[in-house]
Every structure is written in structure tokens, then in C-alpha cells.
């Protein structure tokens, strides 16, 4: 019997209303018991000293791109999950835009098998909404559900047809699947490469108006009302889309949303100098939208933090700005940015941080026995030092790609140990 005991730590579990000193006993990959700090524990248990640290239910990234199968030059499930555990994530949910697209059970099973082979983070695939994400015929959601998907999405190629989206929501409900939407009306974004506003005009780059996101978000909220489906707005980035979610929540609809660390940290001014590592979709928005995001993180309108980790090879990113692909990596910087930009400046406290990284993602995607450390649940644990100073060097990333806008940034607050299913998979050296 393999036992582990984490002693001296400050245990935060929002679901159990726990926020204080507790030792944690782990047995055979599950949480066995919470112990008072002076309570005895089995002598044969391996001891992890977490004095001065935060012990939290494992962080879950609801939105990553692992690129396997098909684009292994950018990332593999092994390198992606290595970056995940180094960033404190015990589980990642990967988007279906691989090659081939994850629109059937065989691909879903392949992804899960590859993640088991890697043995690092848990991988929960997200299946396509429509076949080949073409927006016309529904994909086999039921079969993919049986194979292990936790949600459906046509991320990056959002379903343009409201009628199809309605059917998708109605059908996904039968399998208790959340529909995740990357909100973008492509007739409005129309070849744009950055946020439309003063900076896009100054740089002579084609703009993507905030409305491209907002129009789709409003549509999705209304469809959620019509169908009663669970709808999750991915990487929310505009004031108007946030307002749509706020209204949905006030009506009691099952609408949730996530934000990325880059959207709560940077504005479109980061594009100055034509830095292709500041090119992502949705684009970095203006200060006005950033302020709306911070307000919505504070008031709870935004449920979760997700990275939208999107690896691209340097040869693809080192192109003309308008030809370079959208996306940045983010698994290893999410925790640092959250400490720096949200926690230490008083926008949220540590309990809310854990809620946004673990409790809420598990609830939204229905991951049972995760997102909490109540006895009996899976021993997925993230241990943080809220004050440790460190500098992110993209040259040392575990990801196969290096497309981060945060190279050289310093943070207070770091991941120290990551435990997945009772096994230590990352320890900060």
C-alpha cells in the first residue's frame, strides 16, 4: 500500500469550505483523510513538507491544444502534459482541432491512451460539435462520451449556423455534455489579425472588432435559454460578451465562461513592434475590455481561468504578422500571472483562485472526484508557494514550442509540487 502524507500546509478546498492548516493523508491514489496538524499519521507514509505552502485540489486547464495527433512538430501529448504539470495542472482538457479532428471515438481513445502512456497529467478530451468541425453535421457525441470526452466544441472554427448550434445544444444535453464555444462571427472578423481599434489603425493591421465575439456570445446565451443546455464561453475577452454572460447568469441559465491569463494581463499595445507572440484569437483587447475582464473576475461572472495553450513552431511564428498563426503557449505561466495580476494586487483571494483553477472547471465539465480533496476523491494536488520569486525563461519550457509573450517575466508565487493520482509528477528544483 502506497501512502503519502502532506504535512504543515494550508489546505484550501472551496467545495468543502476548507481554508486552513490540515495534513493530508493519501492512500492508493486517493485522498484517505484530513488530519489535524498534531494528529499522528502512519509511519510508513512518505512525507511531503508543505510548511508555508498552499495545498489545493489539482488545477484543471479547461482549454489546451496538445496538437497530437497530426501536428507533433508543435507539441505532443507527452510534452504538453509535461508543461501542464510544471504549471501546476493535474488535468487538461484538449480541444479537438487535431489532424484528424477529434470527432469520433477512435481519436478520443487514442488521445487518452497516449496520455496514459505519458503518465503525467490527466487528459480529458473535448470532442468536436460537428463532423470535421465543418459546422454542418453533428459529430457522434454519444460515442465520444462513452470513449471519454467531457465536453464538445468546434474551437477555432465556431459553428456559424444558429440552427445547427441549436441542434448541437439539444443533442449534447442528452449526454450531459457542456457545449464550449469560441465566439467569433467570422463575417465580422473577416481576415483580421488583431483587435480593431486605435492600435490596429496605427499599425496598419486588419482589425477584429469586439462585436465579432459579442454577437456570437449573445446568440449562444439566447440559444442556451431556448434549449436549456450547458453552454461555456471559451476565452472571453470583451466587455459585451461578459455582459451577455452576466445577463445569462442573472436569468439562471447554465452559462459559464473562462478567461485566459494573457487576456487579463495584456492589451493590444503588446502588438507594437509586430510581435507575433502577441497574436492570438481572440486578440488582445484594449484597456477598456481588460478592465471589464478584471471586474468580472472580481464579481464572479467569470468562472474559470484557462490557458488556451496553443503551441506553434518558431518557423511558423517567425513570419509576417498577418501570416503568422494565432496562439500562444501558457501552461507554465498561468499560475505566476494569476498571483501577480490578480491575487497579490487584491482582485481575488487564494480561495477564489483555487475555485477558478479547480473547483469550477471540475463542476462545469462534470469531472467527478476531482476539483476537491474531500476524502475519497482522486489525489490530484497542486502545492503552491505564494511568495516564491522566479523568472520564466521560455528557453527552459517543457513545451515543444516557445511562442510565449512572457519570456523573461518575473513572478511572486510558484508551483512547487504537482501530484496526479497520488503520484508526484513534478517537483520544483
Amino acid at each position: 500500500m502506497k501512502r503519502l502524507v502532506i504535512i504543515g500546509g494550508h489546505l484550501i478546498d472551496p467545495l468543502e469550505k476548507q481554508n486552513g492548516g490540515r495534513n493530508l493523508l493519501i492512500e492508493n491514489g486517493r485522498v484517505k483523510a484530513w488530519l489535524k496538524q498534531d494528529e499522528p499519521f502512519p509511519e510508513d507514509a512518505e512525507i511531503i513538507d508543505a510548511t508555508g505552502m498552499i495545498v489545493a485540489p489539482g488545477f484543471i486547464d479547461m482549454h489546451v491544444h496538445l496538437r497530437e495527433p497530426g501536428q507533433e512538430h508543435k507539441e505532443t501529448i507527452e510534452t504538453g502534459t509535461a508543461a501542464a504539470v510544471a504549471g501546476g495542472f493535474t488535468s487538461v482538457c484538449c480541444m479537438p482541432n487535431t489532424n484528424p479532428i477529434n470527432d469520433n471515438a477512435a481519436i478520443t481513445r487514442f488521445i487518452i491512451e497516449q496520455s496514459e502512456r505519458a503518465g503525467l497529467a490527466n487528459v480529458f478530451p473535448i470532442g468536436a460539435i460537428t463532423k470535421n468541425s465543418e459546422g454542418t453535421e453533428l459529430a457522434e457525441m454519444g460515442e465520444m462520451r462513452n470513449a471519454g470526452i467531457v465536453a464538445v466544441s468546434d474551437d477555432g472554427r465556431p459553428v456559424p449556423n444558429a440552427g445547427i448550434m441549436r441542434r448541437a445544444m439539444e443533442y449534447a444535453k442528452d449526454f450531459d455534455l457542456t457545449v464550449v464555444d469560441h465566439c467569433e462571427d467570422k463575417s465580422l472578423s473577416n481576415g483580421g489579425v488583431m483587435h480593431e481599434g486605435k492600435i490596429s489603425l496605427l499599425l496598419g493591421l486588419r482589425g477584429i472588432p469586439a462585436l465579432a465575439e459579442e454577437l456570437d456570445a449573445i446568440r449562444d446565451v439566447m440559444l442556451a435559454e431556448l434549449t436549456g443546455a450547458k453552454v461555456h464561453i471559451a476565452h472571453i475577452s470583451t466587455k459585451g460578451a461578459i455582459e451577455a454572460v452576466r445577463i445569462a447568469k442573472s436569468k439562471g441559465l447554465k452559462v459559464t465562461c473562462e478567461v485566459t491569463p494573457h487576456h487579463f494581463t495584456l492589451t493590444d499595445e503588446a502588438v507594437e513592434g509586430y510581435n507575433t507572440n502577441a497574436k492570438m484569437s481572440p486578440p488582445l483587447r484594449s484597456q477598456e475590455h481588460l478592465e471589464a475582464i478584471l471586474e468580472a473576475i472580481k464579481d464572479g461572472t467569470i468562472d474559470a481561468i484557462a490557458t488556451d495553450h496553443a503551441p506553434h513552431h518558431p518557423d511558423e511564428k517567425n513570419l509576417e504578422f498577418d501570416r503568422a498563426p494565432f496562439g500562444v503557449i501558457g501552461l507554465e505561466t498561468a499560475v505566476g500571472l494569476t498571483f501577480e495580476k490578480l491575487v497579490h494586487v487584491g482582485i481575488i483571494d487564494l480561495v477564489r483562485m483555487v475555485e477558478m483553477f479547480s473547483t469550477n472547471p471540475a463542476r462545469i465539465f462534470g469531472l467527478t472526484d476531482r476539483g476537491t480533496l474531500r476524502p475519497g476523491s482522486m489525489a490530484d494536488i497542486t502545492i503552491l508557494d505564494p511568495h516564491l520569486e522566479w523568472t520564466y525563461r521560455v528557453s527552459e519550457t517543457r513545451s515543444k514550442s516557445k511562442n510565449s509573450p512572457f519570456d523573461g517575466w518575473s513572478f511572486h508565487g510558484a508551483v512547487v509540487i504537482t501530484i496526479v493520482n497520488g503520484k508526484i509528477v513534478y517537483r520544483r528544483s
Binding site: 480593431e196 493591421l205 513592434g273 509586430y274
Partner: protein, 312 residues
């Protein structure tokens, strides 16, 4: 007074101070004289290499840069290609490193993507001159426009300049807005609503105004600058037909009467006669379109000279 120009590159007007702009313009005036000599050549840049790297078709600008280099006795190499680096499987970085290996002093670059000169400048030891990048900037065009205006109006400060047409996609408009407002002119822009973004007025702090219609932009102006309409824009539903454009937004003799009596007309070329500008205006006495070409050569000589270490 000898004022060295301290920059490695000329990427746009946006980053330049009024003083730097004046340095280039003064230097250009001196070089204008060279082109009027019988022997149009000075040994100033002997032994220096200038590469003209044009990813977009261009006759006027490329020839102008080539002649500018040659009249300064530099060795000029022209590379014209319509394919992007991507199409050849090469990154911007590869391209910069390869050219750098040949140790040119100046690389003049035109590209359909905004920011390519900036990306090259970061990766290359050579001085980069932006000869037009996508919809971003075309600094030597704005400099030659300023030189034309100054030669004919004696000053720039206090003038009203109307810029008409496709503002959204125009690098000429952006460079001119920056330059003219830095030197104290009042700029009024106008064109179809689809091609004049409302946020454009925020581009600079002062002296820039978006007019309701082209008539009010032209009214009482000292300079009327007409932008080229690109035919492919029509297919993207920015305006219905060329015919409609010429009727509602073209510079006609009638509309020009709204400007000051001694107003001058500029166009960066090549013109679509009968579309954005009527032929009788293009060929009329107010038009300085051919003078612009002459000044362009002087401005480019000045830029090459200053970037390679020359003094005003």
C-alpha cells in the same frame, strides 16, 4: 549646423520627431541640385551597397530608390519578387540573416504585410528603409509630399490639408497624417464611410479631423491629396462601383473650386484617371504630381545618405 541622423533605420514617420523630419527635408533640398546637373552623380556613397527588396510590384518607388543610390555612387542591387517568404518556405528571420551575410549597408524593403521592415530591422545589421509595408507606412512618400508642399507653399505649419479616399488601407495616408500634424498642419480626411474608420481621428493627439463629406474636407484647403483607389477593394463590398465612386468621392474640377484659389493637388500615383481624380484636375495647373516624383528622388538620396552616416 551639422546634425547627424542618429537612427539605424527609417521604419516610419510615427517614431520621428519634427526635428528629424526637418533634417531629412533640408538634406533633400541640397540633393535636389544634384539631379539638375548635367552629370547627375556624386561620390558620397562610393563603396556602399544598397539592396532594393521589393515584394510588391512597384515602378516609381523602386526606380526612384535605385536612381537615388546610383546618383550617390552606391552599388544598388534590385530584388523584385511577388512571392512572400512564406510561399518560399522561408521565415523573415532566414531572409534577414541571408541578406545580412552579404553585408549590405542599406536594405530598402517593400512588402504587402505591415511590419515586415520592423521585423527585418530587429534581425539585421543593415539599415532598413521602409518603402511601403502593407497598410502601415510609406515614410519616403510622406517626406516627398512634405517637400513638395514646402517648396510651393513656403511652409507646412498652419496649412489645411485634405486627404481623400481609401484611408483605411492607405500607408500613404498614415505617414502623411503623422508627418503633417507633427509639422503643424491641420489635416482633414474624408472618403466613403467604409474606408474611413471612425477611430482614425485618435491616431494623433491633435490637428486631425474626420469630415462628413469630401466637400467639407476640401473647403478652404491649401493642399488636396488624393489617394489611389485599389480596384480589388470593390470586390470586397467597400463601395458598389467605380462609377459611383467617381461621382460621389472623386476630385473633380467643380469640387476643387471649394479649395483655396492657390491650392495644390497631390497624388502618390499611379492614378486611376476618371475615378479618384478627373483627368483635367490631374493635368491642370494646380497639379504637382510630376514635381512629387522629382522631389521623391531627392528625398530618397537624403535618406540613404543620412542612414549611412552622413550629416545634414
Amino acid at each position: 549646423m551639422n546634425k547627424p541622423f542618429k537612427r539605424k533605420d527609417l521604419l516610419g514617420i510615427r517614431d520621428l520627431s519634427a526635428e528629424e523630419i526637418n533634417t531629412i527635408l533640408h538634406t533633400a533640398e541640397a540633393f535636389r541640385e544634384v539631379s539638375r546637373r548635367d552629370v547627375k552623380k556624386v561620390p558620397t556613397l562610393r563603396g556602399k551597397t544598397v539592396i532594393n527588396l521589393f515584394f510588391e510590384p512597384s515602378t516609381r518607388t523602386r526606380t526612384s530608390f535605385e536612381l537615388a543610390a546610383k546618383r550617390l555612387s552606391a552599388d544598388a542591387v534590385n530584388i523584385s519578387t511577388s512571392t512572400s517568404s512564406l510561399a518560399k518556405g522561408e521565415t523573415i528571420l532566414d531572409m534577414a540573416k541571408n541578406l545580412d551575410a552579404m553585408a549590405p549597408h542599406v536594405i530598402v524593403v517593400r512588402h504587402s504585410s505591415a511590419g515586415v521592415p520592423h521585423q527585418l530591422a530587429k534581425a539585421s545589421r543593415a539599415s532598413i528603409v521602409n518603402a511601403g509595408d502593407g497598410s502601415n507606412e510609406h515614410p519616403t512618400q510622406a517626406l516627398l509630399d512634405a517637400m513638395t508642399i514646402r517648396e510651393h507653399k513656403g511652409k507646412i505649419e498652419g496649412l489645411k490639408v485634405a486627404i481623400l479616399g481609401d484611408i483605411l488601407h492607405s500607408r500613404v495616408a498614415r505617414s502623411n497624417v503623422h508627418l503633417l500634424t507633427k509639422l503643424g498642419a491641420r489635416v482633414c480626411i474624408a472618403g466613403p464611410g467604409t474606408l474611413v474608420p471612425k477611430d482614425f481621428a485618435k491616431l494623433v493627439d491633435d490637428n486631425l479631423e474626420i469630415c462628413q463629406n469630401i466637400e467639407s474636407a476640401i473647403e478652404d484647403s491649401d493642399v488636396v491629396m488624393v489617394l489611389r483607389i485599389q480596384k480589388e477593394r470593390m470586390n470586397q463590398a467597400f463601395f458598389p462601383t467605380m462609377r459611383e465612386y467617381s461621382i460621389h468621392y472623386g476630385l473633380t474640377k467643380e469640387r476643387l473650386k471649394l479649395a483655396k484659389k492657390d491650392a495644390i493637388v497631390l497624388h502618390p500615383g499611379p492614378m486611376n484617371r476618371g475615378v479618384e481624380i478627373a483627368s483635367d484636375v490631374a493635368d491642370g495647373s494646380s497639379s504637382l504630381i510630376l514635381n512629387q516624383v522629382e522631389y521623391g528622388l531627392a528625398v530618397r538620396m537624403a535618406v540613404l545618405y543620412l542612414l549611412t552616416g552622413g550629416e545634414e
